[in-house]
């Protein structure tokens, strides 16, 4: 354990007390990267020179006694589908392995404006297509908890980088579970914000109506802190909300969950759910009951349609969004797309074709409304829903190869949240053997503040989130 294994909150305190400098922590993170990145394969591109320079600026400003912004000096990793001006952005796909964006994503600009240090760009499933981190054209991401296991996906590099201490937080994207899944695999807190809460501008689109820009941190408190930076209306994103941003940190010191109604969607606890994982989630439910919440079963009757609806809408949008990669102005020719991107382009193209549109895309859009209504009805009675994130036993690297479609089916517990545009907070709740396991709290739109409170109440009485991977613990 080292200074890079602390939470953001702890690090900011150490900065304030002048116990450590920003340059120290940035260097320490780069040391970790040097030590582990080769085996874990999280970072694709490092921003070392710039990061060290920025760290020096932060230190200089601190010495001068200047008031520093909330994330000043905090090392951050960015999933490689966040555009970064003049810093290579590949989407983990060889088709744009040489692409230098002319502008930075709004979220990146916001992070930089509050002093965050961009350490580099991290691996993911190419174009965020996948749930294991194995679809990257630059090789699989390995799980820092056990290198034989996947780190989850698609934001696998983001999760792994935080887990092994290559940064203190990472930005990911969640289109069907891509933040919550790797957060679960790597013992982190992962937030999929309400659709429209965080600007999508500058982040390479996957499924435009589903994509949410979220982040992975070690604690719920850090997660709330980061959202208070990234959230807000953006004139460059017509789907971003003008709703004022809540003060997410306000009530975290005394989270009130007594009498809170938490629902367990029974469809998520069916026979598809691994019994050991089920036990972990139900144990967490019991802890919420002990904390004074009222936990009860709820039904989301249209859950069975999640997978076809999700894959039709997502791949339709993917097929259009990937059309711009034509190799004319930047990047390479379209045959450079990986297998998964090609599969989704073909699926989406088919779903939108004349004669099929009504039966597929249009029908899927209608069922999507039904799924949304399921949640509305549930939230009429419940404040939040508790559900698993990963419904099956964790996967080893290479295990997925024979069962592509089966892999799609695992999204049934995470995908509905994206189809309904809801926020969901994933947080550690135990272990499946030696691999971490997370649960998710799902709330109505724009209920992030409440989700943080519920998550904080849980972390106040548990210590799963304090555990670090053995390779980090061993560093002594």
């Amino acid at each position: 354990m080292d200074i890079v294994d602390n939470s953001i909150r702890e690090t900011v305190d150490l900065f304030k007390k002048r116990k450590i400098s920003c340059q120290e922590i940035v260097r320490a993170c780069f040391e970790r990267i040097e030590k582990y990145n080769l085996s874990i394969n999280a970072y694709l591109t490092l921003n070392k020179e710039q990061a060290l320079k920025k760290a020096q600026d932060v230190d200089n400003n601190r010495v001068k006694g200047r008031e520093l912004p909330p994330l000043a000096g905090i090392p951050v990793a960015l999933k490689d589908i966040y555009s970064t001006k003049n810093l290579r952005t590949t989407a983990a796909s060889k088709i744009i392995d040489n692409y230098l964006p002319a502008y930075s994503a709004t979220v990146v600009q916001k992070l930089e404006s509050v002093g965050a240090i961009i350490m580099g760009k991290v691996n993911c499933d190419a174009f965020a297509h996948g749930a294991t981190g194995e679809n990257s054209d630059f090789g699989s991401v390995k799980n820092p908890w056990d290198l034989e296991y996947v780190a989850g996906g698609s934001s696998g590099g983001s999760a792994a980088a935080v887990a092994f201490g290559g940064c203190l937080m990472a930005m990911g994207t969640d289109t069907g579970g891509s933040i919550r899944n790797p957060a679960s695999y790597c013992n982190l807190v992962g937030l999929k914000p309400t659709y429209g809460r965080v600007s999508r501008s500058g982040v390479i689109s996957m499924g435009s109506s589903l994509d949410s820009m979220g982040h992975l941190t070690r604690t719920v408190e850090d997660c709330a802190l980061v959202l208070s930076v990234t959230a807000g209306y953006d004139p460059l994103d017509a789907t971003s909300s003008r709703k004022p941003v809540d003060f997410y940190l306000q009530d975290l010191s005394h989270p009130a969950i007594k009498g809170l109604k938490i629902g367990l969607p029974q469809e998520y606890f069916g026979r598809e759910l691994n019994p050991e994982i089920k036990t972990l989630i139900l144990k967490a439910a019991q802890q919420f009951t002990d904390l004074g919440a009222e936990v009860d079963e709820v039904s989301l009757p249209n859950t069975a349609y999640t997978i076809p609806v999700y894959y039709l809408i997502m791949s339709s949008e993917v097929s259009a969004n990937l059309a711009r990669f034509d190799g004319i102005r930047f990047g390479h020719a379209r045959e450079m797309f990986g297998e998964e991107a090609k599969r989704r382009i073909m699926l989406g193209t088919f779903a939108l074709s004349a004669g099929y549109y009504d039966a597929y895309y249009l029908r899927a859009s209608k069922v999507r409304t039904l799924l949304r209504q399921d949640f509305e009805k549930a939230f009429a009675k419940f404040d939040a829903l508790l559900a698993p994130v990963v419904p099956i036993k964790p996967r080893k690297i290479g295990e997925k190869e024979q069962e592509k479609l089966k892999l799609y089916l695992e999204d049934y517990v995470t995908g509905p949240v994206n189809l309904a545009g809801l926020p969901a907070l994933a947080l550690p709740c135990g272990f499946w053997h030696n691999i971490p396991m997370g649960m998710q709290l799902i709330g109505p739109q724009f209920s992030e503040k409440k989700l943080f409170e519920v998550g904080q109440a849980y972390q106040d009485v548990t210590d799963w989130h304090l555990k670090r991977p053995p390779l980090v613990e061993e560093m002594g």
């Binding site: 589908i81 966040y82 555009s83 952005t89 989407a91 744009i96 692409y99 964006p101 002319a102 502008y103 994503a105 999508r200 501008s201 500058g202 982040v203 390479i204 689109s205 499924g207 435009s208 109506s209 004139p235 460059l236 994103d237 017509a238 789907t239 339709s316 949008e317 097929s319 259009a320 990937l322 059309a323 711009r324 990669f325 034509d326 004319i328 102005r329 193209t349 939108l352 074709s353 004349a354 549109y357 895309y361």
Partner: protein
Amino acid sequence: MSGYRPFIGLEIHVELATKSKMFCGCCADHFHKEPNTQTCPVCLGLPGALPVPNKKAIDWTVFLGLVLGCRINKHSYFERKQYFYPDLPKGFQISQYERPFCFKGWFDEVNITRVHLEEDTGKLIHRKIEGEKVTLIDFNRCGVPLVEIVTEPEIKSAEHAKEWLKKLQRVIRSLSISDCDMEKGSMRLEANVSVSKNGKLPSYKVELKNINSFRFVEKAIEFEIQRQTELFEKGQKIEQETRGFESDKGVTYLQRSKEEAFEYRYFPEPDIPPIVFTDGELDKIRKQIPELPEEKRQRFVKEYSLNEQEADYFVSNPSAAQYFEVLYLEKNFNLDFRETARLIINKKIDWENISPADFKAEVAVLQEGGLSDQVELAKAAKIVVDGNPKAVADYRKGKTNTVGFLVGQMMKKTKVDPNLARQELLKILE
């Protein structure tokens, strides 16, 4: 070859003269600008860049739709029209399909199918550089708001098409939402032509594209009717296809056959929330509708006793019309309407460079120089008579010498011969 009836529908693209482009803040005025100087991540279709719709362009489209008698979809949305072409950086054009902003209109005896809003594409420039044939792309035009107006196939002839389009151009210009300049490409024409012997709308249509003048639209349609009629005469079937017009030879040529037709795979644009109009918003737009050219022409003829040509001048010169009407806002300007019109039309007074007040002063100077003709003399006499009711009443009671006073009044305003003035005054008084 008699007995064949043509069916002609028109598709008109008009670039809106908004300051910024349709989905980004770049300048929309692209004519003669250094290539690729008015671009940004959005209009270059860079990964991650999102379209944010230009409210003004949407309002103007609805405005045009209302002027063209359209019904308005109060709940509308953009869609993605997908096809690959180097001038289309996103691989799709943001357009409208299921729910255009405006539909079912009527303009000058032709039904309008729809009026919708989309974005213009970039421009391909084919050049030879160092002996090598290359294609360059200029993205300045990419993302400029483009309105598409589609008519029902009710145009009766090539000439009708030309005249109707000219009228449409005048209307759009009068709304000041586009300069509709064919040379600059801010107005582009397409015609769908088919012919039928039984008088029923045929199941095929031939799309004529790339037409850049009214004269050419007439020629292209004429040629196409002829071509199709001849094919029918020979007993041949005509295929649905897209043809271009070669203006030098006056012929149309095959561009794309039915088999090569694009399959656009439209679907709602997920990056832009649906656009909803309230009744209040529509009323606000409706209130901005100005007088249409035909209405204005008729009003100028009726209200100001102008002849057709004079009225036409004012219709096609809105600033002159406005100037003319401002002059008469104040009751003290009494010059004959037609005389004023002639001064403006013939530019006898340099009205474009002087204020209406100075115009009136110049009129006075001209009048001092002697009234130009009988009409003006009569007018002056009438003004004096109207302006001196007491003297007139006295005259009519028998005090005939008051005519001297009236002549004096006329002399004050103009250097007219006193005898002529007396004669003119007596004409009115007697």
